[in-house]
């Protein structure tokens, strides 16, 4: 491992510094602010005196029932959405990489969900999934007969419905990344494999997926980071209910910050989220780069 900084390194740093300096300038103060306030009791309303209380905020959030429940719900949500998005995204990208008439049109159309505001998407699906007068149940009952209407936001189904909408909204992102990555694989590699008589499965396993490792890693980290703090979808569709069935961490954070205005406590929640997100990223990176030089 080289420790000496060569001229080449200095040259490389010149490219990084603008971005780094900008971000540090802008985000440094808010970051420190939130870290410091997480050790205080500070509310914007009610008793607005600030009191230093050390780790009490952190201790509270690790023992509060609703917060613990929100961990459980969040991890369930995270697991299913990331898994489904990665699988579907990969398959869709592989499909879009084929040559066929109208390919370009489908590519643009498939990107549309990604371009929508999550708030609007949540409202849209809430309308479509309305238990009594939603178009989805109308179609289902027209086909299967009355009595088959699905209660999309019942206690059992609420989380599934939210997961469905998140997958609808975000799979295009994964597909986009993978597609761009697939475009970057030199065609000679594929041709060489064809000449050697490799079948589809082997081609995927030994050539395509390894070349896509970096892209897949980035996609997984991104989806995890965003879904750990997912807020608008469950908030608008179910307000965290029924009975906290969809009360993800993002909702807890929003409630503490902007419903109850406990700034100190919500800063602690934010930092917990940062730590968890970071943990996941390190984990993913280790797994992916295991075996690399």
């Amino acid at each position: 491992m080289k420790r000496i900084i060569t001229a080449k390194d200095k040259y490389a740093y010149k490219y990084i510094f603008p971005a780094l300096i900008y971000m540090c300038l802008v985000l440094f103060i808010p970051l420190v602010f939130s870290l410091v306030t997480s050790f205080f009791k500070w509310d914007l309303i009610g008793d607005i005196t600030r009191k230093f209380i050390g780790l009490k905020n952190y201790r509270k959030l690790l023992t509060d029932d609703e917060t613990l429940n929100s961990f459980k719900v969040t991890f369930q949500f995270l697991f299913w959405t990331v898994l489904l998005e990665m699988i579907f995204g990969y398959l869709i990208a592989a499909f879009l990489n084929r040559k066929f008439f109208g390919n370009k049109v489908v590519r643009v159309i498939i990107l549309i969900p990604m371009m929508l505001s999550p708030t609007i998407v949540a409202l849209m699906w809430k309308i479509i999934f309305n238990g009594d007068h939603g178009i989805a149940n109308y179609i289902i009952e027209s086909i299967l007969g009355p009595g088959h209407a699905v209660i999309w936001f019942s206690k059992e189904n609420a989380l599934r419905s939210v997961i469905f909408v998140d997958v609808w909204l975000n799979t295009p992102f994964v597909a986009l990344m993978v597609l761009a990555g697939l475009q970057g694989i030199p065609t000679e590699l594929i041709e060489a494999a064809d000449v050697d008589g490799a079948n589809l499965f082997q081609k995927n396993r030994y050539i395509i997926i390894p070349s896509l490792k970096q892209v897949l890693l980035v996609a997984v980290i991104f989806r995890t980071t965003f879904n750990l703090r997912q807020f608008p979808l469950p908030w608008i569709m179910t307000a965290g209910g029924p009975a906290n069935a969809t009360n993800v961490f993002g909702i807890e954070l929003y409630r503490q910050a902007f419903s109850f205005y406990h700034i100190g406590y919500s800063s602690a929640l934010s930092w917990l989220l940062i730590i968890i997100t970071f943990g996941f990223s390190v984990l993913y990176t280790r797994i992916t780069l295991r075996g690399e030089k």
Binding site: T6, K8, D9, A12, Y15, I16, P18, A19, Y22, M23, V26, L27, I29, P30, L31, F33, S34, F95, R98, F100, K104, V106, R107, V108, I110, L111, I112, P113, M114, M115, S117, P118, T119, I120, L123, I127, H133, I135, Y138, L176, M177, L179, A180, Q183, G184, I185, P186, Q214, L217, V218, I221, F222, G250, L253, Y254, A257, F258, S267, W271, S281
Partner: protein
């Protein structure tokens, strides 16, 4: 025979994908051209007399005279485009370095950039509000651009790294032999090859800035309000304005589609084989 099966497969899958994406949006579009009576009709009406009143109301009957649609649209476009230019500019450079040049300690820098993004936007709202009010950036366009760029850089950098890394290794060396400086090699050879990645990233970045609601809500009042803020007004005391909601969804997506078509030109095409002779 195989060819026909292939074509049918392609067609069917394409149809399924397009339906999953477009049918819900079609329902929203239909809602945007229905009168309120038609929206509330049961069984749902598929054939009805369309009306332009929802769109008309958005353009000509704004709830606030200071938040007219054109004013807010202008804000959104300016903020998003400027953010895109700045964040892509800074990120492309950083991603090139971390992805290809890989100086000593690049892993640490990488994690630092990513780590700065893991802070949820909610956590920076309160400090940003206080600071912006002190230095006079509250309710200004730059007051939004500055945090937007800061939020976008880590994402764009991370996304672009992968694409830069995937470009075949020895292109810079080949360029150096031909007499290019480092930066020239970057600009003339590497950058065009990373075009698909940059296009993909720009779509994502555009979408994030265009649809962001967490930051504009507390940081603007009327002068710098963006489209998502305006659209949130459909939630009124007397109920949701369903028709207007449909109209806003359609209106907000059109600029994004335009931008996507524009940048997807670069998404097509793979790396030209022949750049490197093995």
């Amino acid at each position: 025979m195989r060819k026909i099966l292939n074509s049918v497969f392609n067609f069917v899958v394409s149809l399924i994908l397009i339906s999953i994406v477009l049918l819900p949006l079609l329902w929203m579009f239909l809602m945007s051209i229905k009168t309120e009576g038609d929206i509330m009709a049961w069984p749902p009406k598929f054939f009805f007399k369309p009306t332009a009143e929802n769109y008309y109301n958005i353009f000509f009957n704004p709830a606030n005279s200071r938040l007219s649609f054109t004013h807010v649209l202008k804000n959104s476009v300016i903020i998003t485009l400027i953010t895109l230019v700045f964040s892509l500019g800074l990120s492309t450079l950083a991603a090139y370095s971390i992805g290809r040049l890989k100086p000593v300690g690049y892993r640490g820098l990488n994690y630092m950039i990513l780590g700065l993004r893991m802070i949820p936007p909610i956590a920076i709202v309160v400090p940003l509000f206080i600071i912006w009010n002190t230095i006079g950036l509250y309710d200004t366009i730059w007051g939004l651009i500055i945090p937007y760029v800061a939020i976008n850089i880590p994402l764009a950098t991370w996304l672009l790294e992968g694409f830069f890394e995937a470009i075949p290794r020895n292109l810079e060396d080949a360029a150096a032999i031909d007499g290019c400086t480092g930066f020239q090699a970057f600009r003339i050879i590497i950058l065009p090859l990373a075009a698909p990645g940059i296009a993909a990233t720009s779509i994502f970045s555009f979408s994030l800035s265009w649809n962001n609601l967490t930051l504009p809500l507390p940081l603007t009042m009327s002068k710098a309000a963006t489209l998502p803020v305006l659209a949130s007004q459909v939630r009124t005391d007397e109920g949701l304005l369903w028709g207007q909601l449909g109209a806003y969804s359609i209106l907000m997506i059109i600029p994004m589609i335009i931008f996507t078509i524009f940048s997807s030109k670069y998404l097509i095409g793979g790396i030209s084989s022949g750049a490197v002779k093995e």
